[in-house]
């Protein structure tokens, strides 16, 4: 029975809710911009890692090449989207 219980999923589910609540707390308390941004960055990275490890099972395969290709492609698209938006909406406006 112990093996059948999806421990990782439940842990991930609770963990992601907690991280979301922590991130949301920045609007509840009167924090400085730096403090708020630090909290948001830390929870965002923790949230992404949690999803990747506990739900997507990254690293549980022997096919390392495809993991690297997929990760690099995702990071490139993510950076392009974020910095492209910043360029279009703020820096180049």
């Amino acid at each position: 029975m112990a093996q059948l219980f999806p421990k990782e999923h439940v842990l991930g589910f609770i963990g992601s809710i907690v991280l979301t609540l922590v991130a949301l707390s920045v609007i509840q308390f009167d924090l400085s911009l730096t403090a708020a941004l630090v909290i948001l960055w830390v929870t965002a990275i923790a949230q992404a890692s949690l999803q990747l490890v506990l739900f997507m099972h990254i690293g549980e395969t022997d096919d390392k090449k495809s993991i690297y290709v997929a990760t690099i492609y995702s990071v490139v698209i993510g950076l392009v989207t974020v910095f492209g938006s910043l360029l279009a909406m703020i820096w180049g406006y």
């Binding site: 999806p6 999923h9 495809s66 995702s74 490139v76 698209i77 392009v80 989207t81 492209g84 938006s85 360029l87 279009a88 909406m89 180049g92 406006y93």
Partner: protein, 648 residues
């Protein structure tokens, strides 16, 4: 909202008429199903199914129905603008119609039709038994269907989205758009978008993991390759839409100010996020169509595809470039020269890999023995018409010139010149090409070809005048104009073209009816077109398990060479086949999620939360469920094979 507010759209006679028509249709279908005692058949064979072929057919059926709804909207728009100061539609109704026309045609016609083709064809082309996650596949379809129901219901209950298919803020925001109209937009796209995202994940996994033994990457058929790239784009682009729609919902229903013009909000951030998804979306609907053309042109030229490697390379480049060009949709927003310069260059770059593909198709046909079947006609018609769309695209890509074209009918003509030959012709080519694979008989060739000519000519007559109207300064989305503007002649020509186009689409339906009645004469074997890829190696219609013996692949177009050499690809020993179990859970979960969205739209948060909890229960039950699937035994397979071969 009061009842009279909720049903306010019905005050308009046109909408009342449509509503009555839909009611009569629904009652007729229910009565028919009851009379012929087909409910059990429908529930067991379709609603519960996880079979990729049946799911594909359902996708195509819903997409065709939506195509006709979107088409009627297009006709109404053309009729309204055919003469000056027309009173056929009022401005509000016109706004709703051009909005839902765009939403329907892109998200509920083009995508599901292509998803239908993915479902029917891809597992067969790679020699798989089903997709990687069959149950998830059913959920994808039913979520899409729930989204489609929501957007259609909006016409009658509460009012349709009315801020354009792009739904730019601040117009789409709560202050300028206080009704439920744009809540419908947010939620129907959200629900069906979740389905699309799951389809993307499902097909990427299927193509990566489930190819037949020996099918290395450079032996994968071109339709599968192009769909693989399209699904990768789905996986990367749709999360952006999901997040943007949640932000829209927060703004409209919970008082946040992400896209507001005040309190530090940024209205153009919506346009930015929308097009971060929206531009890759264009490639999501066009790349699989390119794949269809590649299959069709190679098959009917009796030659292998020219430049296979460069086709693959150009698609991979397109998949990356498609994420680098989005800001060209709002050059006139007011950002500086650097931004417009950067996005101009990336936009023009994308014409290069696309051009490579055009030349590959032309060179495939060179010295080929071309047969002019219906799918081939669509492929041949696509090349010149799409090129006009591409060239006007390069014109629009120049940011400084775009200030002239922006928001005029020139733009409308351009994207119809891209999407109709690109996507619609691709869809129709694939539909005529793979119909025999789905149902075991061909569609009538003559009616198919008449349909092609009506559609191709009607399309050009409808949309070419729009280039000229646009250059003359006719703004898009205008519901009427005065006689002095002199816009009438070209608008009238465009309306006549639209009627021809409508006639062309009507022949599609007539062809289904005609061919169904003559299915005995039109019946065909597994390979009616003398084609090249693996899906034609099995019977038509395809047995549940696809291939009795999974073929081993040693080269591209293995099936074609096996035919030439007289080899039987399924010669091995038949063994028990492991198949997934059917399940009704995806259907009921989608019903619940559809209702959840419906109550959310009307701000009935209490009921919505209750339904949200039910959705979570569905998911929890699924995570604890152990489903090992079932086996089809050797005896049953042998019997089925004998029956399909015709000896009993």
């Amino acid at each position: 909202m009061t009842m009279s507010e909720i049903f306010a759209p019905l005050k308009e006679p046109l909408i009342m008429g449509t509503a009555v028509g839909i009611m009569v249709g629904v009652i007729a279908v229910i009565a028919g199903l009851t009379y012929f005692k087909l409910w059990g058949w429908l529930y067991n064979n379709y609603i519960k199914t996880v079979d990729h072929k049946k799911i594909g057919v359902m996708y195509i059926f819903v997409a065709l129905v939506m195509l006709f709804k979107g088409g009627v909207e297009a006709l109404l728009m053309r009729a309204q603008t055919a003469v000056p100061d027309n009173k056929l539609l009022n401005s509000e109704h016109y706004n709703e119609i051009f909005t839902t026309h765009g939403v329907l045609m892109i998200l509920f016609v083009a995508m599901p039709f292509l998803f239908g083709l993915f479902n029917v064809v891809i597992p067969l082309q790679i020699g798989a038994r089903d997709v990687a996650f069959p149950r998830l596949n059913a959920l994808s379809f039913w979520l899409f269907a729930a989204g489609a129901v929501l957007i259609n219901v909006s016409f009658i209950i509460g009012g349709s989205p009315n801020a354009g298919w792009t739904s730019y803020f601040p117009l789409a925001g709560i202050e300028y758009n206080p009704g439920v109209n744009n809540n419908y937009y947010a939620w129907s796209l959200q629900i069906s978008g979740l389905g699309s995202l799951m389809t993307g994940i499902n097909f990427v996994t299927t193509i990566v993991k489930m190819r037949a033994p020996g099918m290395t990457w450079m032996k994968v058929p071109m339709f599968t390759w192009s769909s693989f790239i399209a699904n990768i784009i789905v996986v990367f682009a749709f999360p952006v839409l999901t997040v943007a729609l949640i932000m829209m919902t927060m703004d409209r229903q919970f008082g946040t100010k992400f896209f507001s013009t005040e309190d530090g909000g940024m209205d153009m951030l919506w346009a930015n996020l929308f097009w971060v998804w929206g531009h890759p979306e264009v490639y999501i609907v066009i790349l699989p169509a390119f794949g269809v053309f590649s299959e069709v042109i190679a098959t009917f030229s009796r030659k292998n595809l020219f430049g296979y490697g460069s086709m693959v390379a150009s698609m991979i480049i397109i998949s990356l470039l498609s994420f680098l060009v989005w800001a060209h949709h709002f050059y006139t927003m007011g950002h500086g020269v650097v931004v417009n310069g950067v996005f101009s260059i990336t936009t023009m770059l994308i014409a290069v890999p696309t051009g490579v593909k055009i030349f590959n198709w032309l060179l495939t046909m060179r010295h080929g023995r071309i047969t002019f079947t219906t799918p081939m006609l669509y492929a041949l018609g696509f090349i010149p018409i799409f090129t006009i769309g591409g060239v006007t695209g390069v014109m629009l890509a120049m940011a400084s010139a775009d200030y002239q074209y922006h928001n005029t009918l020139f733009l409308v003509a351009h994207f119809h010149y891209v999407l109709i030959p690109g996507t619609v012709f691709g869809i129709l080519a694939g539909y005529h090409f793979w119909w025999p694979k789905m149902f075991g008989f061909k569609l009538n060739e003559k009616i198919g070809q008449v349909g092609f000519w009506l559609i191709a000519i009607g399309f050009n007559v409808t949309f070419f005048p729009m280039f000229i109207l646009g250059l003359d300064g006719y703004a898009r989305r205008m519901y009427t104009y005065s006689a002095e503007t002199g816009y009438m002649t070209l608008n009238m020509i465009s309306f006549i073209g639209a009627l021809v186009l409508a006639l062309g689409f009507a022949t599609l339906v007539y062809n289904i009816y005609y061919s169904l009645r003559h299915r005995k004469e039109l019946a065909c074997g597994g390979d009616p077109w003398d084609a090249r890829s693996l899906e034609w190696a099995t019977h038509s219609p395809v047995p549940e398990y696809n291939f009795a013996v999974v073929p081993t692949i040693s080269r591209l177009d293995e099936f074609w060479y096996a035919k030439k050499e007289g080899r039987d690809l399924q010669a091995g020993k038949i063994e028990d086949i492991h198949m997934p179990n059917d399940s009704a859970a995806p259907f009921w979960q989608s019903v619940v999620m559809g209702l959840f969205a419906f109550f959310f739209i009307f701000n009935e948060i209490g009921i919505a939360i209750a339904l949200g909890v039910v959705t979570l229960i569905f998911m929890a039950v699924r995570s604890f469920e152990i489903d090992e699937g079932r086996h089809i035994h050797i005896k049953e397979i042998e019997e089925e094979e004998r029956r399909l071969r015709g000896d009993r």
